[in-house]
């Protein structure tokens, strides 16, 4: 069953992309992540032009995050004030990011830049998660009681000016770090076609020292609005959002996520993190190989859009 994708301009097998959406949806449901960092590379490896993959993924992450954000909202796990500050930075970052995508495409180095970003961020985060989860698993095996990190300790973040009180997060910190964090994640979201949760969540916990119960809700809140804005920006400035592809991926992802969530409940937190870290490092290695292996074909051609 084929469908000619109107923006990607290629004939795609619907079942293949449904399955792809389902598989990534399963993983994202299981690990509680958006799955953009897995889906965008998969789309690119499946032959979708890199820029179209990145633009379309924003729409797909939006669909995947809406229901989660709503559930967290009902449970009052969203710090709206913090989310808004993060979003303000995120929107600025997104505008820059979308323009950067256009400029890099014209220079012909977008694919390289994308790979380099993936290698760097997935490598760092995957390694950190791998080390942390292995340590925890080892400690649990040794019979020690593992306690979560104490929040409320002070670090350099707390010495900055423009302090704002975030009631739900029980924080009184400068608005500069969340703004910068938002900006950085917004930039990455536009360039890498990810929601940025995998950077946002650890940064909120370890850098801003937010209580864990509001971290996921606030991150999802931020991602919903950020990906919505990124989708509109990509569609209007770069014309790289394929609505048909997005719908196929959404359909697969939604179903996969339900099964993934059930599967995830059977595993322990540190086991999930270990598995996720392995996945992340695998994707990272795939991109790294692409950068260092001598290519079989030195030349590549771009259509009119690539100019």
């Amino acid at each position: 069953m084929n469908f000619y994708l109107p923006v990607a301009e290629m004939s795609a097998n619907i079942l293949v992309f449904l399955a792809m959406g389902g598989a990534v949806g399963f993983l994202s449901g299981m690990f509680g992540v958006g799955g953009g960092f897995l889906m965008t590379p998969l789309l690119i490896f499946a032959g979708i032009p890199a820029a179209v993959a990145v633009g379309t993924e924003a729409a797909q992450i939006l669909a995947a995050s809406v229901s989660g954000a709503l559930a967290q909202w009902r449970r009052r796990n969203v710090d709206v004030k913090m989310g808004t500050v993060l979003l303000a930075g995120g929107l600025v970052g997104s505008v820059f990011g979308v323009q950067l995508v256009g400029a890099l495409r014209r220079q012909g180095v977008f694919d390289f830049f994308l790979s380099a970003c993936y290698v760097t961020f997935l490598g760092v985060i995957g390694l950190m998660m791998l080390i942390e989860s292995t340590n925890t698993i080892r400690q649990v095996r040794a019979g020690r009681v593992v306690t979560a990190r104490r929040s409320g300790q002070h670090n350099w973040v707390h010495g900055l000016p423009f302090k704002v009180r975030f009631h739900r997060s029980k924080l009184y910190i400068s608005a500069i770090p969340p703004l910068l964090l938002g900006l950085f994640v917004g930039l990455l979201a536009a360039i890498m076609g990810v929601g940025g949760g995998f950077i946002m969540v650890p940064a909120m916990i370890y850098l801003l020292r937010m209580p864990t119960n509001v971290v996921v809700g606030t991150s999802l809140f931020q991602i919903v609005f950020l990906t919505a804005a990124t989708t509109v920006l990509q569609a209007s400035l770069n014309q790289n959002v394929d609505v048909v592809l997005a719908v196929i991926l959404m359909a697969g992802g939604v179903v996969g996520a339900q099964f993934g969530a059930v599967a995830g409940q059977r595993l322990k937190g540190e086991e999930l993190r270990f598995l996720l870290a392995t996945f992340i490092l695998f994707v990272c290695a795939r991109f790294a190989w692409q950068l260092i292996a001598p290519p079989a074909e030195l030349y590549s051609i771009g259509g009119m859009g690539a100019i």
């Binding site: 939006l62 669909a63 048909v244 074909e297």
Partner: protein, 304 residues
């Protein structure tokens, strides 16, 4: 309480559908606004009654024969389920002097060309151990598609200089480096980049050479079939039919035809390129709707 909740949800779904319908209707309404945008316009539907203008015939001096030719479909529609297609080029030689189809009296070359356009070719280089695009050449008039079919290898039919003159064969496709390259180019560079274009286009089946793909089916009747793959670019096409006799060019017929988006395919592409902002908002509406729908369905399933 429960009913009120359900009512609110129904209202939300109705509002979502409203936005969707509005978004889908809009491209038709504001066609005029769209014309101003620089984006490549989707191919317009062909005006009827221009059949003869689409065919150009050139008799070479001294030739007694003339040729009539046409393609099986002047307008091929690319719809949502487009998965490539085949076009048949057919025709007849008027005043044919060959005794039978098998005699090999005439030679036939058929060239099908897609729309010429600008193309960037990039070459990867190794920078500090990493492979990235380091240099590029811009070519003009690169046909999006090029197929040549003949009744025997073209280098046996026509001498090199004539092939170059008419642009017959993959080595002689007429495309040239654009003026104003970012750096000076040597002839050797250009040749390498040119070869790369042909090689890559061949690999994606967009440049095709079929040395026995055309032939006579009677004293004067001939035909050839050419495959357009699923990844072919839409736009105008031109098919040239050349008749040769002992390396001498006798006649040439050129037929214009098109490959255009139609139906849903045309619609979505036009929407994305002509009203990109509204298209973006519609995509967002669809994504939010899908997310809410999933959450509703899941909650029902979870509580049941």
């Amino acid at each position: 309480m429960m009913r009120q909740h359900r009512l609110r949800r129904r209202r939300a779904i109705l509002a979502f559908l409203g936005v969707l319908v509005l978004g889908l209707l809009a491209p038709g309404i504001s066609e005029t606004v769209a014309q101003k945008r620089k984006a490549p316009p989707p191919v317009a539907k062909e005006a009827p009654g221009s059949r003869q203008q689409d065919i150009k015939r050139e008799q070479q001096p001294g030739a007694k024969e003339s040729v009539e030719a046409d393609v099986s479909a002047r307008n091929i529609a690319v719809t949502a389920n487009f998965n490539g297609t085949e076009i048949v080029v057919f025709g007849a030689v008027d005043g044919s002097q060959q005794p039978s189809a098998e005699s090999g009296y005439y030679d036939l070359i058929i060239v099908v060309e897609g729309m010429p356009g600008r193309m960037v070719v990039r070459r990867k280089g190794n920078v500090a151990g990493l492979w990235l695009n380091t240099s590029s050449v811009i070519f003009d008039n690169v046909p999006s598609y090029y197929a040549v079919a003949s009744n025997r290898p073209i280098d046996e039919i026509v001498p090199e200089d004539l092939r170059a003159l008419h642009g017959i064969g993959l080595q002689h496709i007429k495309f040239t480096p654009a003026v104003g390259q970012s750096h000076p180019l040597s002839n050797e560079d250009i040749k390498q980049y040119r070869d790369a274009v042909v090689r890559l286009k061949r690999a994606s089946r967009l440049y095709v050479e079929n040395q026995f793909g055309a032939g006579f089916t009677g004293k004067s009747l001939f035909r050839a079939s050419v495959v357009l793959p699923a990844n072919v670019t839409v736009g105008p096409f031109v098919t040239h039919v050349y008749l040769f006799r002992e390396e001498k060019h006798l006649y040439k017929v050129s037929v214009r035809h098109t490959l255009g988006r139609e139906g849903l395919e045309w619609y979505l592409h036009a929407f994305a390129y002509r009203l990109p902002v509204l298209y973006g908002f519609t995509t967002v509406a669809i994504a939010v709707g899908a997310g809410l729908l999933a959450s509703t369905a899941f909650r029902k399933g979870g509580t049941a």
